[in-house]
């Protein structure tokens, strides 16, 4: 078939990423365009045939066809013409991962580096840093990145993985629908509806590096279902290469509740969590505490319009002796989705967020002013125009206001084309913005003047103009794939510039580009055996603007490997046993130099009966120990880890 062959050419060209990537991106675009022009009439001619062919699909295939645009907030990502990888509940269970950041390693479009027992550098498309600030991370629609630095304190989000339904990972900007920080990607953690977590679950386990235990109970309430859970986890201290302990052990506890109720036209969700954590560190240690309450109401109107209103309150404190932070967030978001004239799906919405941030600095560092109320407001509209059943044009604009830089415009335009039953092509252009966080404007070292590092009073938003093109589909009934090429043009990235008499000051002196390819494929060689492979190749060219002297800003922007990939093999064995092997390779990081490493994790699981599952996990079986982050002098190395777990459903 003509379709198949030509598209394979695109695939072949895009998989050779090590050659000149820039021209590659453009070449694939040209080919995509040529294809579009050549195939358009053909696609039209076969539309009628395709309708008739529906009847040839199997029951399972039919059940997979999306027939309406879905309205619910947590389901929007699945169809978007963007680079999306979904980590399923099954992936999480079968990989044996035990924390949210470890689960993120399963996404080939994310780069995850563990800095110590508790801290991680998680990013997409570069700028990896434990203070990484270009991702939007949400748990059930609640944003969890901190306004202090626009990054995530991963140790404060010890999500109960047994209740996670899926984690949607979008690499690339999704700022129109999701907001300012979604410059390099969105991580959307979605927990199961209470209806799917009925009954009692008890799980616990331990190993040489960590232990954990969780209990969950789910039942029915008038009009709906609920669940409650409690979870405790502990991490052992990590060690440096010379065997010295880093004193970073931690203990965390968490409880939570979820209710989902519905009638014919309405659905309500109430989610609440509370946590506390105690993390060792030289000196006073670090205490984290927090809680949140979220209420969501969704209503479907008779004409197909869906309304979705959500509000949440989130409280968190961080106390590490020399620095304390107390953050209270109130966030309200409303949106409506409707179909107009059969071919347009319009989403409009708006929201407002108030963050009361109270800090107390110490001798080493401080925020000036110590206290600030950070407000963000936005409205957005996005239209999906079904030009033909196979071709959709999506355009959107978000207008956002923040306290530091005023109004920011975040437009994007996307095109999705279902070229054949098995292949869809998409392309997108977006302008994404990372608005200043408190650290950019109000952070000072040391705690009292004279300062050697100053927040930049004139620091503006970092801007990325992003171009993407991707293809995804099915090569054979058992082989599916997705490939994306991207180009980010960066402006006004954060630099640290010396100013006479003032030390270093944060400014917007760095620019450049990031380009690369990310992709993955899943193959079922036979029943009961699944292979998944994926990875990212990245080239970053960043430099200080003419006339700018940067001292350390460039290095602080991130430390990224040029390539990373992950291979997974999932085997179903007789007697309800499973064996999963995951191999992940992360290339060398340049500055500070971290050598490349390849780690192999193995998990064996056995469903003893319908109620009991036992499992054993061994991590880093290949190498005795390896570092993932930081300069050689004071970084930790991760050794082999073992974990045994029992899970009982009553």
């Amino acid at each position: 078939m003509r379709f198949g062959r030509t598209l394979k050419t695109v695939a072949v060209i895009t998989v050779r990423p090590s050659r000149a990537l820039g021209s590659l991106v453009t070449r694939s675009l040209v080919i995509a365009a040529a294809l579009a022009l050549a195939l358009a009439p053909a696609a039209f001619a076969t539309a009628q045939q395709r309708i008739a062919q529906l009847a040839d699909l199997s029951l399972e295939q039919l059940a997979d066809i999306v027939v309406t645009s879905v309205s619910r907030r947590e389901q929007k990502l699945a169809d978007a013409p963007a680079s999306i990888y979904v980590i399923t509940a099954d992936d999480i269970r079968r990989s044996g991962v035990r924390s949210l950041p470890e689960a993120l390693r399963l996404a080939p479009n994310l780069q995850v580096a563990r800095a110590d027992a508790n801290q991680y550098a998680v990013t997409a498309r570069g700028f990896g840093n434990v203070l990484a600030n270009k991702l939007l991370v949400m748990v059930d629609g609640r944003t969890i990145y901190s306004p202090l630095f626009s990054g995530v304190f991963w140790e404060a989000h010890d999500v109960m993985l047994e209740d996670v339904d899926r984690i949607e990972v979008v690499s690339g900007p999704e700022t129109t629908l999701w907001g300012t920080n979604a410059v390099n990607g969105v991580i959307n953690v979605i927990t199961k509806p209470a209806k799917d977590t009925q009954g009692t679950l008890v799980a616990g386990g331990g190993g040489n590096r960590d232990w954990q235990g969780s209990v969950r109970y789910g039942g029915a309430l008038p009009g709906g279902y609920y669940r409650m859970y409690a979870r405790v986890t502990g991490l052992e201290a990590t060690e440096r290469a010379n065997g010295a302990s880093v004193d970073d052990a931690s203990r965390r506890a968490r409880i939570g509740f979820r209710y989902d109720g519905s009638d014919a036209a309405n659905a309500w969700t109430v989610i609440a969590d509370a946590y506390t954590g105690d993390i060792d560190q030289p000196g006073a240690g670090r205490d984290i505490d927090g809680g949140n309450l979220l209420v969501r109401w969704q209503r479907s109107l008779a004409n197909g319009t869906a309304l979705d209103v959500q509000a949440y309150y989130d409280h968190s404190t961080l106390d590490q002796g020399t620095f304390r932070d107390r953050l209270d967030t109130l966030d309200v978001d409303a949106q409506a989705r409707t179909r107009i004239a059969d071919r347009h799906t319009l989403v409009v919405g708006g929201g407002y967020r108030l963050q009361r941030d109270r800090t107390r600095g110490g001798a080493a560092q401080t925020f000036i002013p110590a206290d600030r109320d950070v407000t963000t407001g936005y409205v957005f509209a996005q239209d999906e125009f079904g030009v033909t059943p196979a071709l959709a044009l999506i355009g959107g604009l978000k207008v956002e206001h923040n306290d530091y830089t005023g109004v920011e415009l975040l437009p994007n335009v996307r095109l999705r084309w279902q070229a054949t039953k098995d292949v869809s092509l998409w392309t997108a252009a977006s302008r994404a913005v990372r608005a200043p966080s408190r650290i950019d404007r109000e952070f000072f070292i040391p705690g009292v003047a004279p300062f050697v590092l100053n927040g930049g009073p004139d620091f503006r938003s970092e801007v990325a103009n992003v171009f993407e093109a991707g293809v995804r589909g099915q090569l054979a009934p058992r082989l599916s794939y997705a490939l994306t090429a991207f180009y980010h043009d960066w402006k006004r990235l954060r630099s640290a510039e010396p100013r006479p008499g003032a030390g270093l000051v944060f400014a917007n002196g760095i620019e450049g580009s990031t380009r690369g390819v990310e992709g993955w494929a899943t193959y079922y060689p036979m029943a009961g055996w699944r292979l998944t492979a994926g990875g990212t190749v990245l080239r970053q060219r960043l430099h200080a603007r003419d006339g700018v002297i940067d001292q350390g800003g460039l290095a602080a922007l991130g430390n990224d490997p040029k390539r990373s990939f992950v291979l997974r093999s999932s085997h179903d064995l007789p007697n309800r046993q499973t064996v999963d092997v995951m191999l992940r390779h992360v290339g060398a990081r340049p500055n500070p130099a971290v050598p490349a490493y390849t780690a192999v994790d193995v998990r064996w699981g056995w469903h003893v009966n319908d109620r009991v599952e036992v499992s054993m996990t061994a991590e880093n079986v290949g190498d005795a120990r390896h570092p993932e982050w930081g300069p050689a002098a004071n970084r930790v190395e991760f050794e082999r880890a073992y974990f045994a777990k029992v899970l009982v459903r009553l």
């Binding site: 529906l54 059943p389 335009v413 084309w417 402006k491 060219r541």
Partner: protein
Amino acid sequence: MTRGGATGRGLPGRRRSARAFRWWATTLVCVALSLPAIALAQSSEDSALERRVKAAFIYQFIPYVEWPPKAFPDAETPIVVSVVGSEQAVGELQEVIGKRSAQGRPLLVRRWRDSDAQGGPHVVYVTRSHADRLPAVARAAQANGMLVVSEQETGLDQGGMINFRLVDGKVRFDVALGPAERAGLRISSRLLAVAQTVRSAS
């Protein structure tokens, strides 16, 4: 600094970016230019997709349903799918499965007629717009060995044997074995395996 525009400093990064943008824009323009032609020639079929997928489902159900022998007086008897719904719905079904055959018999898709209450059809599909007819149709169907397919929230409570519903924007279905058994129908476990939920006979 300007917003996103080239300031003419000629930095390599900028040039590359500008070139990438040019290619990208050209691509978009090319594709955009080809759109009107397609758009003009194509009728809007989006809203009908759900109905068509359901039609394909109904067609795929047939091999997994066993009717009582009296349902087919002779070898030539077609499998009749009777639609309680609008002409348009009937048309959409015919488009997808009208020219098909199943179990070695031709498929005949037509609109419900009052005489159907006395028997004749093998499958009765009660569309949402005619949901109020479901209880009566289901009674007639049970007495005459017809498979009742419905598509409303309470379909199975009102005599539906297979009830469609949308889950995450996809068409899924539930099965109630009780009414099917009373109608003398046997539904294969292969079909039940794909169902979201199965209400057993009791």
